[in-house]
């Protein structure tokens, strides 16, 4: 691989590992983005793109909903939609790609991906879009993916008598470490950094806990003799890491919460597991200064 083309993707900010070094191995890195992201800093070519509301494009949410976003404002001069940039570069490289609009791209997607067969822009411009499968025969889309109506077996819910015990119940590692999103940190915070009120909320967290934090329930904290702002060491089976305690009832008793932006801590504790969704049994001790 010699070249890498990243479309509105910022792996450098989100990865636990040193991607900056990997990016350096490419002869050509192209980044299409709205903002000067950490990844864009390593790009040979940056193509600034139009933003939501500046272009007519579709997007699909995790709810399977394919929606059409209309252009409401004129983009700043010189900016073009990401798809158009790809088409133009392809043209310069000798390909004969002829898409007059994003709608034409969508039409081709519909031909190749049967689930999107009925998702023409004309169809998407009604209601709040359509949920796939949205085929030519079923242009209104599919509200429930698993229902008897469409021949797929619905899920069966079975009541669980008692919540499954957390993996951390041993004496040595009585707490469970959970990684997750933080209220004011979403994806790589590219957008939050550009919203006045949200940026303030995020930066306050960093002012209060300049070296980052892990969240502890007040009851757990009391048992450990840890107060808000204390340095703590988190021991997992194979590794340990130091952080600052943020004591808050927002986290459940028995749980240690690590927000996703704590890359260093995640890296140290999770090691090669590299999976932020894992529940890790840990022990927390106050770190004496």
């Amino acid at each position: 691989m010699k070249a890498l083309w990243l479309c509105r993707y910022d792996p450098v900010s989100s990865s636990l590992f040193d991607l900056a070094g990997s990016l350096g191995q490419f002869e050509l890195v192209v980044v299409q983005h709205l903002f000067m992201t950490d990844t864009a800093k390593y790009a040979h070519v940056i193509l600034p793109t139009t933003a939501f509301g500046e272009e007519r494009v579709s997007f699909t949410s995790t709810e399977r909903r394919i929606q059409l976003a209309e252009q409401m404002v004129e983009p700043s001069p010189g900016l073009t939609p990401a798809w158009e940039q790809i088409v133009r570069v392809a043209g310069l490289m000798g390909a004969d790609w002829d898409y007059p609009s994003a709608a034409a791209v969508m039409e081709e997607i519909g031909e190749v991906v049967p689930f999107y067969g009925g998702a023409s822009y004309e169809n998407l411009s009604r209601e709040y879009g359509r949920q796939w499968p949205c085929t030519k025969d079923q242009p209104l889309g599919t509200r429930f993916l698993f229902s008897e109506d469409n021949g797929r077996k619905p899920f069966k819910f079975i009541p669980v008598p008692k919540p499954a015990p957390a993996p951390a119940s041993s004496k040595d590692f009585p707490l469970t470490l959970v990684c997750g999103s933080s209220l004011y940190y979403w994806n790589q915070n590219v957008l939050i950094r550009h919203s006045e009120a949200l940026r303030r909320e995020y930066s306050i967290l960093l002012i209060d806990y300049p070296e980052g934090f892990v969240e502890l329930n007040p009851e757990d904290a009391k048992g450990l003799g840890v107060r808000d702002g204390h340095k703590v060491r988190i021991y997992a089976e194979a590794a340990s890491a130091v952080s600052t305690a943020r004591v808050t009832a927002e986290v459940r008793k028995g749980t240690v919460f690590v927000p996703y932006f704590e890359h260093d801590l995640e890296r140290q504790i999770l090691g090669e597991r590299r999976d932020g969704s894992a529940l890790v049994p840990v022990r927390v001790e106050r770190e004496k200064a």
Binding site: R126, E127, E196, A197, R200, E201, I204, I207
Partner: protein
Amino acid sequence: MKARILDRADVLKIVDLLRQQGYEVVAPFYGRGRDTFFDTVTDQNRDRIQIHLPNPYYPPKRFVFPHIERLMKFERSDGQIHIEPVYEQPKRAIFGIRSCDLAGIYHLDRFYLGREFRDVYYENHRKNLFLVNVVCSDVDRDINDECFCVCTDTGPAARDHFDLQLMDLGSEFMAVAGTPAGEALFADPIFRKGEAAHIEKRHAILDELRKRFKTTTSWFSATVRYVTQGDILEKTWEEIGNRCLECGGCTYVCPACTCFTVSDRPIGPNEFERVRVWDACALSGFTRMAGGHNPRKAVHDRRNRRFFRKLAHFFIQRELAMACVGCGRCAAVCHGDIGMPSVVEMIRRATGEVDKHERASH
């Protein structure tokens, strides 16, 4: 106040009249699904203006108090700092503003123009603003499940604060002038004098309308009293706070919320602009001071704050208007179901519980 009658087919001619007078007219339109929004009327979209539709979630407040507004520019050259205020004084008309939102603008008037300091930016947006109120008379389209203007005494038909009010009587509309500017429109031949039957019809429609509201927060006035006197249990605020996700949505859709933050941002190598941006008391950074002290750290303290500011008698008296106008938007957007009607209901239940305990202890 003078009233006139006009044909249903002539209603949008009022928009044309205003545009001829040089107004930028904003009016409500349908988006997709339930979505509705206010937009500037052009020759192209003029026929798509809606008289009856669900009230847009994004309140017309932004036409007097923009979501983001430039206040001034700072320029630095040769060691000097040059400060230049940025003023915008549009001549604008809002066609189809609902009675609740009208009450919202009245509240903003009292707040921004009524106290020790007048807000010049607000005044600039407000002074050439022409307000055409439409009475919510279509039960299916105008009145949403969350509407409770009958409880805040702000609707469905506003009694004042408009230049012109329109009410759908079927094949005809009644136009009521609230100001001389509104009355001046009556010179146009589309308007004619009405008869006693028109007034009777108006009353009959309004009487019927009042029965059609799904949300009736009957405990509202009692809540005002309880909040004012500080009689609400800490436990109740905690329950409310536990359900708050701190998204600030209630504030951003509220036609009567006034808070803003101020931010300086670069617009050139040696140039900055100072903008004000809507802010929300649900966010913890709203009260946090440099240095780290936050007098309102707990979520429930911040929720307590919102409802106290909206309902305490002191503020109602000072602004001669309540900072809640019964539009129901907060109830529609809140993920934790702690919009105003639900909070009133939670307070009612909690109060009932206190009574029970008291009875049990005697």
